[in-house]
């Protein structure tokens, strides 16, 4: 019986991870700035969740749980790194930087833009743009009301627009 439940949950998890793979990976990529690290973090997440086995049945919103866990994993990894490598601010941003030509440049630009925002706003933007989540899903993942999810997104975009306009970059 236990094995059956465990198998069901493994199947449920594997199907979810497979269907969400590209979004999970992209979210991790644009948080970590490395496809290799993103692969690792998503794999580690799968391993970690797989180990929960039958206990996964107790999680109703598994998708939300997966994204929340992924966000936490990325945060942990970044915390350990940022002790050594602080993110550049928008003050040194040049117009050339707004036209990246590869992933590395694009990531650096996005990282700087996100660093200009409070964490709760940048997280909603990341989940929306890179994770491909709806505002309903974001509200569930972040455990906030739907209106808050939408307003955080709007305030974040507004704040970036103002900052870029102020620097003559838009």
């Amino acid at each position: 019986m236990k094995l059956t439940t465990e198998n069901k949950q493994h199947t449920r998890l594997a199907q979810l991870m497979q269907s969400e793979r590209d979004h999970l990976f992209r979210y991790a990529c644009y948080r970590l700035g490395s496809a290799t690290d993103a692969d690792d973090v998503v794999q580690e997440l799968y391993v970690k969740l797989s180990r929960q086995g039958a206990r996964l049945a107790e999680i109703d919103d598994l998708k939300g749980y997966v994204y929340r866990s992924l966000s936490n994993s990325c945060t942990s990894l970044l915390r350990s790194r940022r002790q050594f490598a602080p993110t550049e601010t928008l003050d040194t941003l040049r117009s050339d930087d707004l036209a990246p030509t590869d992933f590395e440049q694009e990531f650096r630009l996005i990282e700087r833009l996100m660093a200009h925002l409070p964490e709760e706003q940048s997280e909603v933007i990341r989940l929306r743009i890179y994770g491909g989540r709806t505002f309903d899903e974001i509200a569930s993942i972040c455990n906030i009301p739907l209106t808050t999810a939408k307003s955080r997104f709007r305030y974040g975009i507004d704040k970036l627009r103002e900052a870029l306009e102020k620097r003559g970059l838009l």
Partner: protein, 248 residues
Amino acid sequence: MKTNNNLDNITDRRVEDLLSPRFAPTTSLEFKVPAPRRRTLWQAVRIGAVAAMVAVAVVIGISSVQTSTAREVVEQALTQLLESDNYLVRFTAHVTENKSSRELYDIDFDGTPTQGTVEIRKEESKIKMAIKWQDEARSMELYDGESYRRYQNGQLVLERPHGGIDLTPLATIDNLKEYALLTGLLLKFREEGDMILVSTRGDKVGIVARFSKSEGRLLGAECSGQYNGQQVTVLTVDQIDFDVLPAE
């Protein structure tokens, strides 16, 4: 009534365009459900730490063919592993005696460097393995597909059932990744110049095998992990020879 729900009002397209990914990398990760209770090399990690780690190092650390990509090198290595009848692996491991007597030695960061050889013979899908330690008791551990036996000073000192190790499910990179995923071992392929690095990372100890693309051969394989803030190597596969063992 106008509300914040209207996305047209709450976004600025120019900013969103800047944030939109244009160069997003792609992934080939696969999430599959494993066959339940299947005996694999990876499960053996829990059963026989030293034996399994050596075997894992062999699996990811063999190549004698010239190919271009990391994936091809390792696919060829696995093919070679499956097609060869036997291998002789020379290794050095940092070990301490296993107090439970289930295994002779544990890999241990504080352990004593001890040399040994692993003889692996393939018979159909079963892998028979003998580990010969260069310790005072000239210890030898045998996995014959049905039992585990330990000899010391030429005497049988322990015997227990053991189902052996089946390498067949690891015939492809996809299978290897699948099993690695579900046991917490991450398998990564990385190219650095002429070097191909194939690595795993588990909870404590990772394995790295280094290949030369131009020479088409394995340069070495090591198991290491973080200990007291430093990267410490606990097992080194010094040499792997194919089809050198006499018939039983």
